[in-house]
Symmetry: C2
Subunit: 136 residues, 2 copies
DNA sequence: CTTGACCTTGGTGTGTACTCTAAGGTTTAT
DNA sequence: ATAAACCTTAGAGTACACACCAAGGTCAAG
């Protein structure tokens, strides 16, 4: 299968596939005589793995680690895989916590403001940002 | 006040201050004879505004908008300010929702895996990423 | 046999918020 | 007088995950 058809099947761009190849996430096993990439069943499976991993929030770098483990499963332990997963989960949790603080602060600000059409001279959002030191 | 002292007082780097200046967030009013930036009380206030806005999650671009409103308060309405705030809040909420989905999926994966020292040949995390199509 | 759709490589551009470097001028302390 | 510590500019580099482009080769249909 050439790159275009392969990309279509997966709903990604050919650029993406070449990018993944350059970054050692997925390399087609063979090339045609003309030098075209030739993707097969194995490539399809691997791409699906990558896309699923992306869907749960892993970065491409993390996915590369997962793939290296997957390639040599018997040389790695369940522990390693679970560790990666938990590390990622905790990182995501931290980011959620930070964004939740933002959301909270923004809600407080928004609630303070009348939102009317009058000039913003006394807008409580602006004055709060000018005056208050807290708001972490 | 020269840039180094000013930066120290605020806990930011001199690079950051020059970066903000280049992007029209904060420009010191005057320069010394030698061409050094000279920061005053007004700059301090404005930097505090910027840092607070950053603390609630606004991007530098959004902060620039807020500053433009702040400079000409009577030409803008409360409505505009509240709109910016609410737009940002909703954006943050979307990102939180996405990350929460990630967190959920990662938790499910982690819970499935024993995490033991045995080889990863049958690791449920890997097999789940290989096999299952759902996991959105 | 030529047109159009595909493929190749290598390189640049995007957004965000800085950080770092090079090459040089200024100020302050000894 | 000279070294340390500051300042200046312009420009490049970082992370991340691609998208886009140019210049050219290849393949199937009409």
């Amino acid at each position: 299968m050439k790159i275009g058809e392969f990309a279509n099947q997966l709903g990604v761009s050919t650029d993406t596939l070449r990018y993944y190849e350059k970054h050692n996430l997925l390399t087609p096993l063979t090339r045609t005589e003309a030098g075209y990439r030739d993707y097969g069943e194995a490539s399809l499976k691997q791409m699906k793995f990558i896309l699923r991993a992306k869907n749960v929030g892993f970065s491409l770098l993390e996915i590369k680690e997962l793939l290296q483990i997957k390639f040599k499963k018997h040389q790695h332990s369940c522990h390693e895989v679970k560790d990666l997963t938990i590390q990622k989960r905790d990182l995501v949790a931290e980011r959620i916590a930070e964004l939740t603080r933002f959301h909270q602060s923004l809600s407080v600000l928004a609630d303070k403001c009348c939102g009317g059409q009058e000039p913003a001279d006394n807008c409580s959002i602006l004055t709060t940002l000018e005056d208050i030191d807290g708001l972490t």
